[in-house]
Amino acid sequence: MAKPIRSGSDAMKRDFLLFIGFSVLVMLAPQYFRGGYMMNVLVFVGINTMLAIALNLLLGYAGQISLGHAGFFGLGAYLSGIMTTTFSLNPWLAMPLAAVAVGSLAFLIGFPVLKLKGHYLAMATLGLGIIFFIIFNETYEWTGGPSGLSGIPYLELGGISFNSDVKSYYLIWGFTLAVMLFALNLASSRVGRALRAVHDSEVAAQVLGVNARLLKVQIFALSALLSSIAGSLYAHTMTFISPTSFGFNFSIELLTMVVIGGLGSIYGSFLGAALLTLLPEILRGANDYDIIIYGGLLMVMVMYMPGGLVRGIPALFRKLAGRKGGVDHA
């Protein structure tokens, strides 16, 4: 599942050009998608891409599953929301504070949680996510409970308030591209190689001098921290948050994005996030039934395309091309 280690300046140059090309496309997109509705959807694609990358670092690179990431996303959103409304803090200060708090919390709970493996890890993180969800609902004097928290201020920079669709688009995608670049760098660094080593065999990685236990906890904390930033951005662009956005179903949706896109592929996370965010828009009529499609997609992908779209589609093309070639020869 892990990507082969690429080295040499050619590969680096190619990766760099790919990223530049992607960024240019992202920056130009508003020229083609005018109209507030589509921009709004693309803002969600950006937030979900960030979250999918955060989860992918943990699941795709380190091989550790989490079914509770919506909880960290929600914690970031609520901490930012509460600090900026109840305590009137500057949003730019609240966001890093929330991120550090969520990251530290994840670091602390990471030690007992990541001792578990496979199914047990899945259940423990799921339990954590649900506990967070219950807390969002029950501490209504802080969070507003099920009716939500409103009046969260927009982010502002040099007198510009990010209060319109196009402005939020550039804000969110600025952060998303930064997270992508960071994740791409991390993946091709020494840490990325160590993570893949842990993914393939924890024992072997430890023999080679990787502190597997600490590394897993660190990547868990980093993943939670990035999710928290996405949460803060979500809170400040929507200006209203309620617990339903941060429940178990959203954790599953994130998992689906990562799996569909491709485990261990940063651009795959973007593909998965884009597909799953746009899908409900495309399937307008089938409003409530999108969960059937999520479930079906998850199963079909794991069974027939375990590498995700980024690897599955090229492989499919090769297979089709190969079959055609075979017929020609015969």
Partner: protein, 293 residues
């Protein structure tokens, strides 16, 4: 706090606990035979309740016929699930198995929503709803049905696992699948059996609890998770430890909801789950000799 109140909470906790125990045993049976935690376990609980409702109202069957009918259909779904999703899996790594059973559970829940809609449905109690007074507390006849049926199922389970060839073969698989295969046990068939037994048990749990709590397409999630919690307390045993685990969980939840706060009722199960996983992954009664990996 009055004694009557505590007695009341304990009694109702015991009957919910019995439900958790049945679901938990379903988890354990599949886990022991295959090493899979079936995240779709709760959906069979949902199917049991809703299918009984449909048999009663649409097919107009009497209760004694509706129940076996619902169990049979749920079991068929369990067989299909094993055949179509679990067996064809080319890379059965734990993560892939987690994802595929989660996918299956979402799919089943979605299909149930298509068939039965989002409404909550009720199933009539098996024998009226005249309350019975015990000490200062009262219980419903359905509570007694739940406890009795759970006891009977656990008894049948015990006989199956210890006194029949196929039950013994299943136990052999849980000790060592490879060795079981070497002595001529058809491991694949045992895997299928484990799905049959646990989907049937899940359905029974769903049927006997439906008259008390009503049922809907999404009841499987919470019930399934709590059943898993019971199994974890019991150290993934398919016997008495998981039953005790379920009862402990049911009673703690009921007391917690009554005496502390009903809003945090669901959190209790997950806090217990995390504490057990962190500190006693072998279960509350297990010996610390094996690592849960």
């Amino acid at each position: 706090m009055q004694f009557d109140q505590i007695l009341q909470y304990t009694l109702s906790g015991l009957s919910t606990g019995a439900i958790y125990a049945l679901i938990g045993i379903g988890f354990s049976i599949i886990y022991n035979a295959t090493g899979i935690i079936n995240f779709a376990q709760g959906e069979f609980v949902m199917l049991g309740g809703l299918l009984t409702m449909s048999c009663l109202t649409v097919l107009k069957l009497p209760l004694w016929a509706a129940i076996p009918c619902a169990i049979a259909v749920s079991t068929l779904v369990g067989i299909l699930f094993e055949r179509l999703a679990i067996r064809p899996l080319r890379q059965p790594t734990p993560i892939n198995l987690v994802i595929i059973t989660i996918g299956g559970s979402i799919l089943l829940r979605g299909l149930a929503m298509l068939v039965w809609g989002k409404d909550t449905h009720s199933v009539p109690p098996f024998s009226g709803d005249a309350p019975i007074a015990i000490g200062g507390a009262t219980i419903l006849p359905q509570h007694l049905w739940i406890l009795a049926i759970t006891l009977i199922i656990i008894f049948i389970n015990k006989i199956y696992f210890y006194h029949t060839i196929s039950g013994k073969a299943m136990r052999a698989c849980s000790y060592n699948r490879r060795a079981a295969g070497l002595v001529g046990i058809d491991v694949k068939r045992m895997v299928l059996f484990s799905f049959i037994i646990s989907s049937a048990m899940g359905a029974v749990a769903g049927i006997i609890v439906a008259p008390l709590t009503m049922t809907a397409y999404d009841v499987g999630v919470m019930l399934g998770l709590k059943g898993f919690c019971a199994a974890i307390i019991g150290g993934m045993s398919s016997g008495l430890s998981t039953v005790i685990g379920g009862l402990i969980l049911g009673v703690l939840e009921s007391l917690g909801a009554g005496l502390i706060s009903s809003g945090y009722k669901d959190a209790i199960a997950f806090i217990i789950l995390l504490l057990i996983l962190f500190f006693r992954p072998q279960g509350l009664f297990g010996k610390a000799d094996s690592e849960r990996v």
